[in-house]
């Protein structure tokens, strides 16, 4: 790897200051996306700002309406501690592998917004609120396409609030090697209606409004399709295949609601 500095601030304010202290900086949480990207020189930051010594960023609390998960909570911690939303705990337990889940974090995944990551689907379907060092974002405004979010340079997610649904389920068709979603569907039933989020299929996580409307109306899902024109084609699957898989995964998720 290229030469980099490592800063380990002990407060949120120091972390923000460290990021701005000069040169190209990157925050590092669990590092399980960032370090592989640095090894392959997709990213070449001059300074890494390690958030692990900032206190209070990994708590999981439930205020009744929302389950709040600290941004530095590992996937293993969410799998074990998000029992108030079993579908969220189950999703966390399917990310990567046990050693990856011991290091990777919720905040790192959401800030990175990989189009095949699992968590963005849960954030979108569970009306997630991203609280940062300077603002609060609703999920519908936060995700802005492939690896793009509403976060400003140097902004730090501190915690994410998930609306506790009446019922929810995540169905994922995963790449057997990377375990990223080829297509993942997170379906949730809230008091105000259904929300269905799709990850892996398109350039970024998206809401499937036609599926939501059908579920709200109690109508059949048989005629509900995703338009393959908006979906990805890559070495893993064609857009048409992903569109078909989305229907299959939707049926699997809805069957668990």
């Amino acid at each position: 790897m290229h030469d980099m500095g490592l800063l380990k601030p002990a407060s949120l304010a120091d972390a923000v200051a460290a990021f701005a202290s000069g040169g190209e900086a990157a925050f590092i949480a669990g590092g399980h996306t960032l370090l592989p990207a640095i090894k392959s020189r997709l990213r070449m930051p001059e300074t890494l700002v390690d958030l692990s010594a900032v206190p209070g960023l990994d708590a999981i609390t439930n205020d009744g309406a929302r389950l709040w998960v600290g941004a530095m909570a590992t996937h293993a911690a969410v799998a074990a501690g998000a029992g108030a939303i079993p579908a969220l705990a189950a999703l966390a337990g399917q990310i990567g592998d046990p050693q990856v889940r011991n290091r990777g974090t919720l905040g790192g995944v959401v800030a990175n917004n990989d189009p095949a990551a699992d968590y963005p689907a849960a954030v979108l379907a569970l009306e997630g609120q991203m609280v940062t060092d300077r603002a609060t974002y609703a999920a519908d405004d936060f995700f802005q396409g492939m690896f793009a979010t509403a976060l400003a340079d140097g902004e730090i997610i501190t915690r994410i609030g998930f609306a506790v649904p009446q019922a929810a389920a995540y169905a994922k068709f995963r790449n057997p090697a990377s375990r990223y979603a080829i297509v993942g569907i997170f379906a949730a039933r809230h008091a105000g209606g259904h929300r269905v989020a799709v990850t892996g299929a398109g350039p970024g996580v998206l809401r499937w409004t036609a599926a939501e409307a059908a579920l709200d109306a109690g109508a059949s899902l048989a005629g509900v399709t995703l338009d393959s024109a908006d979906l990805n084609t890559d070495i893993h699957a064609s857009a048409e295949y992903r569109a078909h898989l989305a229907g299959v995964m939707l049926a699997q998720a809805v069957s668990q609601l």
Partner: protein, 162 residues
């Protein structure tokens, strides 16, 4: 706030002040700086698990952790589990059940097995072990005996703990 050398690591019970850049990979500090070459580099892309070590008792892939991120932590490598004449029960089970062929993946498999005991106790079904091994690759295709070895090692650890 800048993390300078030396990096302070407790490795296999011994305190070390390591003179290496904080952004060195933990696996490179273990192998190149400290000559603890039992921790292997298989893929270097956090897929294969040959580099698994315990950090504060929790299994991590040391190819995907910076030495500076481990500053102040306690690390256990395969060398810290047992001695040639007094193997750790999980190591002994791999030998007894022939849970290895070429042995390259074995240090990571042994660490993964110990992690399973931490999370799930001493009575591990073969199905659970197979699921928990999703982060460890064996290219000799020796998974069946690896699973048997971890099941036997987990039970033996209970006796050893008692």
């Amino acid at each position: 706030m800048p993390l300078q050398s030396p990096i302070h690591l407790t490795i296999n019970g011994m305190a070390h002040a390591v003179d290496a850049p904080a952004t060195t990979l933990l696996v490179d500090v273990l192998r190149d700086t400290l000559a603890l070459t039992g921790t292997h580099i298989g893929c270097d892309t956090s897929q294969c698990g040959a580099c698994n070590v315990l950090v504060d008792g929790v299994a991590v892939k040391s190819c995907t952790m910076l030495a500076g991120q481990a500053d102040g932590r306690a690390i256990t490598t395969i060398e810290g589990l047992g001695q040639a004449d007094a193997l750790h029960p999980m190591q002994a089970a791999f030998r007894a059940v022939h849970g290895l062929q070429c042995g390259f993946c074995t240090p990571g498999m042994v660490i993964a097995g110990i992690e399973m005991v931490r999370k799930h106790g001493h009575d591990l079904s073969h199905e659970l072990i197979a699921h928990e091994l999703e982060g460890n690759l064996c290219r000799c295709t020796g998974y069946i005996n690896i699973i048997k070895a971890i099941a036997a090692g987990a039970k033996a650890m209970e006796t050893a703990d008692a």
